[in-house]
Symmetry: C2
Subunit: 238 residues, 2 copies
């Protein structure tokens, strides 16, 4: 594991209580005392853009909560083909989908900040706080449902439908209304590897959406969606 580690010395508890993702992250179900107990084993990590947090196959010694920035999860085949299995936003928990070793590689898309917990301490805490385990199970359920959704995207949707689905999902995750302005922290290659397409197809499809007025592109990574319903109609959302 890499990244600039920081012992969360004196300011530890204040860090959690003032935490920007306090209402989003798994720890939202904890009381102040429980939070204090859990945070005793917590450290903070900062990653630079592109920096890996861990690699597929590494022994899974830690679990994480992303408090700032964005992460990319991916799996690699021997010949270099890559599948991005997910993007993490602030508040997301990282530590459900692995066994003894990490099953995917996690890398920072931009400057990212994480809380990290030794797995042993975390599981120990889990065993003593069933309500916390319940919260994790709820997240796992939600991720499973999302994973099935993604299977539908990858198995049965066209390139247009895949990109439209992706943009609509992102917009919804950001909690925006009928119109939306999205910032994409990931590049075209990441989107392609997430959607099972090539960079060229993603780019062409973006251009097609632009020509049709479904999106307006500003720079590389800002997407205006004038009508979310109209884009959703392209997404074949059942």
């Amino acid at each position: 594991m890499s990244g600039r580690e920081q012992a969360a010395c004196c300011g530890r508890i204040e860090t959690c209580e003032r935490c920007g993702v306090r209402g989003l992250a798994v720890c939202r179900v904890l009381s102040p005392e429980e939070l204090r107990e859990l945070s005793r084993s917590m450290r903070t990590i900062e990653l630079e853009p592109g920096e890996p947090l861990f690699h597929e196959g590494d022994p899974a010694h830690s679990v994480f909560t992303l408090t700032g920035g964005h992460l990319r999860l991916s799996r690699l085949l021997a010949d270099g083909r890559r599948q991005v299995t997910g993007f993490l936003l602030p508040g997301d928990f990282l530590g459900l989908a692995f066994r003894d070793t990490y099953v995917a590689t996690a890398e920072a898309l931009d400057a990212a900040v994480l809380c990290t917990f030794p797995r042993t301490a975390f599981e120990d805490f889990l065993a003593r706080h069933p309500r916390f385990e319940h919260e994790l199970l709820a997240r796992a359920r939600s991720e499973l449902a999302a994973a099935q959704e993604q299977m539908l995207v990858l198995g049965r949707k066209t390139a247009r439908e895949r990109l439209a689905t992706f943009l609509v999902q992102l917009a919804r995750r950001h909690g925006t209304g009928g119109r939306a302005v999205l910032h994409l922290p990931m590049g075209r290659a990441d989107i392609a590897d997430y959607l099972g397409l090539t960079v060229e197809t993603v780019s062409r499809t973006f251009s097609a959406f632009r020509r049709e007025g479904l999106v307006r592109l500003e720079g590389r990574s800002t997407v205006h969606i004038p009508s979310l319903p109209r884009l959703a109609a392209e997404a074949a959302l059942e």
Copy 2:
């Protein structure tokens, strides 16, 4: 919900204790007393081949353990495109990947037998038995890892690699050694919809494998695999 329900009257507890999947299913972590408590709200259902257990979008009132036969989970797009998100074998638990409504349709592939629990009673039991919740979380983790694996298959593998991966996975799930004889409870269309292919491509790929001696087909649904490692080499398993 359909299916022939049977109140598990007098023989209820013996049913669980003698259960063929006792060592496989989630209830393996329960003590005899806990088992008795849980089984109080249990009913048994039998399904005929092709019969649905529930449909995508139905309110999720129950959770299940499959004790005999096989199930297919699938999601449908408005125009009829279908993605099979999984096949269930005896011992599998059904009730992790949904929220208030079922996110997939579950149908019997052959004559299937299930234990069914009202969701409220089940969650109530869960709240009082953290060890049981822990077991469910472990299953959820495992399913999440499997779902990511399937994303890699659907997003990045060729038709040959997909079919080879599927057969190797099935063989491993059956716990067979270097050679294997598989019975496929699902048809070619189910396999196609699971792998994001068409029936024709699945059939052609089976035939190619047969010509190359990777498999021997006996009838429609029996597959001999003379060398699992050789088939695994075709599967691009990282």
